[in-house]
């Protein structure tokens, strides 16, 4: 068990964490590169910068639009996001691990607030699952992935809370800790290859959407040619 | 030229010299490392005592060759031979190429393998002390006068005198008098000290002289190659021109 924990904290953590960071960087670079290439080839080079920026900002801080339609669900979602980002980033135990490993540390949450945020995140997450299941429209739009993500994001929070706050036998403690770490690492690996990549892509997605409609000149011919349907009615 | 004479028969292996060296040069704590050689020297141990069977203790340190291979090898002159004799090292010039370690016939320079900003480390015969007119820390610390400091000529004479007085005890030779151009750290001993250096044959030349002919051939080789190529170029062009003219004439 000890060796497993050491492995999960050491090499496995390095592997998954770097996959996450570089993977996100890769997605970002590839998308920007693609967008630039599309812009270079675009027939119509006029871009509605102002509109795109406003729309992007509106998506990043979605208070106005979100609360208009499903205020409760949106509030839960925002709380969930806050807990999801703040808790792991500013938890004392995590910072301690960083300091032991490479000697960097930063401000940490007080114990009480860390516990509070953890419980808040768990409740918000459960609320989001219920929200998805309850509304027929949302249920129809949801993929398996969407449920899976809510579920797997909650595992580290629940196990982390158990480890930090309850008196359990050392072997159970270690087992929960292992699940906590492994689930966290699974999340790391999946982030750059799934919808969670929106954490870095959000700011540029609006531009890419705008660009997508700027086809180069005579692109229709080329598409037809590629699909071997030249001269045929589309 | 200053020198150190070590009399192996007098050494009792107390390591006072090692301690004095560590203290004076402020060398850091050491521990066994994978990259050490088994002679006790390391980046943090500039001198060491090698124990050989039958209570023989041999102090190993930089030999301060009269014609040092390391000095001739160093591309940036970080190692230099000072007028008083010690071979000193200037870390400000070093680029970390470790060619001196390849060149040294005694395997003396050591490297800080665990340091992200690594330097060469070796004995400098306490050069700062010598400049002050003092003797090196190690010879000063020796309680039995097994290792003494002085002018090379005087020490050589002393060494020969000791050998002459007690020819049964000593091997009849001063180690470091002539080998590979001679060194400034001399030994007299009752056992063979060949293990202190790489196998040296009788005809092993003074090391800096091995590269000297090749190095002095550099300018002639450079311009010679240029001249040869120039000649070839002219010849080929001419051949081409003659061929072309012939073809034109035919037409």
């Amino acid at each position: 068990m000890e060796t497993l924990l050491d492995f999960a904290r050491g090499p496995l953590f390095r592997l998954t964490f770097i996959i996450m960071i570089l993977g996100l960087l890769r997605v970002l670079i590839l998308d920007i590169y693609g967008a630039v290439e599309a812009y270079r080839r675009a027939g119509d080079k006029r871009l509605d910068w102002k509109n795109a920026i406003i729309k992007t900002l509106r998506w990043i801080f979605p208070f106005k639009s979100a609360f208009a339609q499903r205020p409760f669900y949106s509030a839960l979602s925002i709380l969930f996001h806050i807990g999801l980002i703040l808790t792991p980033l500013f938890l004392l135990a995590h910072i301690q691990l960083w300091e032991d490993g490479i000697g960097i540390s930063w401000w940490s949450l007080p114990h009480f607030w860390a516990d509070f945020l953890t419980i808040l995140t768990i409740i918000a997450g459960l609320g989001l699952i219920t929200g998805r299941l309850a509304s027929r429209g949302a249920r129809a739009l949801s993929r398996k992935q969407d449920y899976f993500w809510l579920f797997i994001l909650l595992i580290p929070f629940i196990t982390g809370y158990i480890c930090a706050n309850t008196a359990i036998s050392p072997s159970a403690y270690q087992a929960f800790m292992l699940i906590h770490i492994l689930a966290g690492e699974l999340i790391f690996v999946l982030i750059p290859f799934s919808k969670i990549a929106h954490c870095v892509l959000m700011p540029i997605s609006q531009f890419i959407i705008t660009l997508a409609w700027k086809f180069p000149a005579r692109v229709d011919d080329k598409i037809a040619e590629t699909l071997k349907k030249k001269g045929m009615p589309v | 030229m200053k020198a150190i004479l070590t009399d192996v028969t007098k050494c009792i292996g107390c390591q006072q010299c090692v301690l004095a060296c560590k203290d004076y040069n402020k060398l850091d704590k050491d521990m066994p490392r994978d990259w050490h050689r088994n002679d006790g020297l390391s980046a943090r141990n500039w001198t060491s005592i090698i124990h050989k069977p039958d209570e023989h203790y041999i102090r190993k340190q930089c030999r301060h060759c009269i014609e040092p291979a390391c000095v001739s090898a160093c591309p940036v002159a970080a190692l230099s031979k000072s007028p008083e004799g010690p071979v000193t090292y200037d870390p400000g010039r070093c680029i970390g190429c470790r060619y001196c370690m390849i060149a040294c016939p005694y395997g003396i320079p050591r490297y800080e393998w665990d340091n992200p900003v690594p330097y060469i480390q070796k004995c400098n015969m306490c050069y700062s002390r010598i400049k002050e007119g003092k003797q090196p820390a190690c010879t000063e610390a020796c309680p039995t006068e097994a290792t003494i400091f002085g002018d090379r000529d005087e020490l050589l004479a002393e060494a020969h005198r000791r050998i002459k007085n007690d020819p049964d005890l000593y091997i009849g030779k001063v180690f470091g008098e002539f080998e590979i151009g001679g060194t400034q750290v001399l030994y007299i001993s009752d056992i063979d000290l060949g293990f202190l250096s790489y196998p040296v044959r009788k005809d092993t030349p003074v090391l800096p002289e091995t590269t000297a002919p090749a190095m002095s051939a550099v300018p002639p080789a450079f311009f010679g190659m240029g001249a040869v190529m120039g000649g070839l170029y002219w010849f080929c062009k001419r051949k081409e021109r003659i061929k072309r003219e012939k073809e034109e004439n035919k037409e």
Binding site: P11, L92 | R37, I49, H51, P116, M215, A217
Partner: protein, 628 residues
């Protein structure tokens, strides 16, 4: 998958791994990734990348001489590729040097600090000058992409012949000076390789192998991109330089025979075997196969001969730069990290090569990337048949993914042990042998001391005296042995169990119980154990509790015994010898040691000098047996 795509993916993966290890090397020193040592200061990076890399880049100057000076116009279409090969060969060597040099940011220093006796000084100048020349020779090719720099391009092309001359002259010096490097080691290099002709031998072999490297590169290109091969030209080129290779063999054997070293080649040692392998690869195979006109023009023969010659010259350089240098330490076996960095640098260079071939007019005409053929079908991938863009974008997606995964894998593979205590010999301390007299010898090397345990107990007042020395004990164990906490022979060990103290089932205490809030949390700033466990250290204990970390075993043992012995030596009549090393480490007569050499030595330096006499082991063992 496509040939090119597979090949490039592998190269990207190797590059990623190497970058991870390279970063580690930069931050934690050479010892953290390599097995280089004081006995083997130059390793695989020199032997595989730097020195052979430059030999194989020799094609640059040889082919420019053939094309521009001997005016063999039929090879002109290979001029750009050969310059590119040489350029990348030198870049490879320079990159390897950045990893290999201890202080790579000082690499420019030979420019200002001159030392013209040094062969390495000449080498570094040649590298810098020739890199510049190669750069100027190659730069017109990418310039063709844009019209803006046309004037400069035309200017450079107009005076190309000057660059060609300079390149040849500098290369002559450089190839030979690499041989000069090893002239200074007559007593270290194996006689079969050492020769005063080394500079000349290096030069000739580089002249011969450079063009064969070009043949290999061209054949690889034609395989990867499915282009027809100009077999007759390649064969003629290989044949021509095979003659140079034969000349090299002739000179080398005449040199060996005239120096009377030939018997060494038949003495059955492993060096002799490697010598014959080298001769087989470098001389026998190419010369034998290329001599026959019929075989010369077959593709397999060209493959075999070019690969064999390239490997042969690589082996020759590796032998001289490392394998055949005498060592006194343990045998040098490069670590996985070292090998990986070596291959990573090569892979990156090949990737740049392929990029240039695809992107620029290296072959006089621009090579179409097969991934961007207009008739190539669009690629779809993944379960949802997501459109991956044009095939080229699909390639980009794959390469970057492979690269990221390899880089992460590389970081995961770095052993934290190597980084935290690089090179420290891991010696776990062991329990002292029991009985009235303990044999205190933590690393079991026989170099220890007989400790009269029973005697000490009686002298200090029976069972009550245990906590004099046993200053701490672990739960459920009274008077734990020293090794329980001082677990490592030479490095400090952590005696504090964070897991247990923090766990709700254990002590269940918060971090700030021991670490003051606001202060950096380290072992030294934390509250010491005896603040809570006040029974851990007795009032009259010899060692007061000062640190949270358990000292190394050697330091702890010396610290415990020596301080007491020193004190007693001063107090007790007739026991002045107590504070002398040989009192405990019995190796020689006390009488022969002058009395002024006392424990004062060990007392101040037990931190410093660790192994005084490695070969005392057997003697102490015998004494231990005699003592019973």
């Amino acid at each position: 998958m496509d040939r090119v795509k597979t090949f490039k993916s592998i190269l990207w993966a190797l590059t990623g791994l190497a970058i991870a290890f390279g970063i580690t090397r930069m931050f934690f020193g050479l010892g953290s990734v390599s097995n280089l040592s004081d006995a083997t200061p130059w390793g695989i990076w020199k032997g595989l990348n730097v020195i052979p890399g430059i030999a194989l880049a020799g094609g640059g100057f040889v082919m420019t001489a053939v094309i521009y000076i001997m005016r063999r116009e039929e090879y002109k279409r290979y001029s750009k590729i050969t310059v590119l090969l040489a350029f990348l060969g030198y870049i490879t060597a320079a990159t390897a040097l950045v990893v290999e040099l201890g202080l790579p940011w000082m690499v420019w220093k030979p420019i200002i600090y001159w030392q013209h006796h040094s062969a390495l000084f000449e080498v570094s100048w040649c590298v810098m000058l020739y890199l510049t020349v190669l750069f100027l020779e190659f730069i017109p090719v990418p310039m063709e992409e844009t019209e803006r720099l046309a004037k400069l391009r035309i200017f450079l092309n107009k005076y190309k012949i000057v660059l060609v001359f300079l390149g040849i002259m500098i290369s002559t010096l450089h190839q030979s000076s690499l041989g000069t490097l090893f002239l200074i080691t007559p007593e270290k290099l194996h006689p079969l390789w050492y020769s005063s002709l080394l500079p000349i031998l290096f030069f000739i072999s580089a002249v011969a192998v450079g063009p064969l490297m070009l043949v290999l590169a061209v054949m690889t290109m034609s395989y990867l991109y499915r282009k027809p091969l100009e077999k007759d030209k390649m064969a003629n080129l290989a044949f021509g330089f095979m003659l140079v290779l034969a000349l090299y063999g002739l000179i080398r054997f005449i040199d060996i025979i005239s120096a009377g070293k030939l018997p060494l080649a038949f003495d059955g040692s492993w060096q002799a075997w490697i010598f014959w392998i080298e001769i087989l690869l470098l001389l026998v195979i190419p010369v034998a196969l290329l001599s026959f006109k019929k075989m010369r023009y077959s593709t397999p023969v060209l493959w075999i001969t070019s690969i064999s010659a390239v490997l042969g010259v690589g082996l020759d350089r590796a032998n001289i730069a490392g394998i055949m240098l005498i060592r006194t330490g343990p045998v040098y076996i490069p670590t996985f990290y070292e090998i990986s960095i070596s291959f990573g640098i090569l892979s990156a260079a090949i990737l740049v090569f392929l990029f240039c071939v695809e992107r620029f007019k290296i072959w006089e005409v621009k090579w179409e990337d097969p991934l961007e053929k207009p008739e190539a079908p669009p690629e779809f991938g993944g379960p949802a048949d997501v459109w991956l863009g044009t095939p080229r974008i699909a390639g980009r997606t794959v390469y970057s993914l492979v690269f990221v995964l390899a880089l992460a894998l590389g970081f995961a593979m770095i052993s934290s042990e190597r980084i935290q205590s690089a090179g420290v010999e891991k010696v776990p301390a062991s329990k002292a042998r029991g009985g009235d007299t303990l044999f205190v010898d933590g690393n079991l090397d026989g170099y220890g001391t007989m400790f009269a345990h029973e005697d000490h107990i009686q002298r200090f007042g029976d069972k009550k005296s245990c906590d004099l020395c046993h200053h701490m004990n672990i739960p459920l164990d009274k008077h734990s042995g020293c090794y329980e906490c001082h677990r490592n022979m030479y490095t400090t060990a952590d005696a504090f169990r964070h897991d247990w103290h923090a766990s709700p089932a254990g002590a269940k205490i918060n971090c700030d119980k021991c670490h003051q809030p606001g202060v950096q949390r380290t072992a030294s700033s934390a509250k010491t154990c005896d603040k809570c466990h006040n029974d851990l250290v007795a009032q009259n204990a010899v060692i007061k509790f000062e640190e949270n970390e358990a000292l190394s075993y050697t330091d702890a043992m010396h610290g415990l015994c020596v301080s007491c012995h020193k004190q007693k030596a001063r107090v007790l009549e007739g026991k002045e010898d107590l504070d002398r090393c040989p009192t405990c480490h019995k190796v020689r007569d006390l009488e022969s040691i002058p009395s002024e050499i006392k424990m004062q030595f060990i007392d101040t330096t037990f931190n410093h000098v660790v192994i005084p006499f490695p070969d005392l082991v057997n003697r102490v063992k015998i004494e231990a047996e005699q003592d019973g």
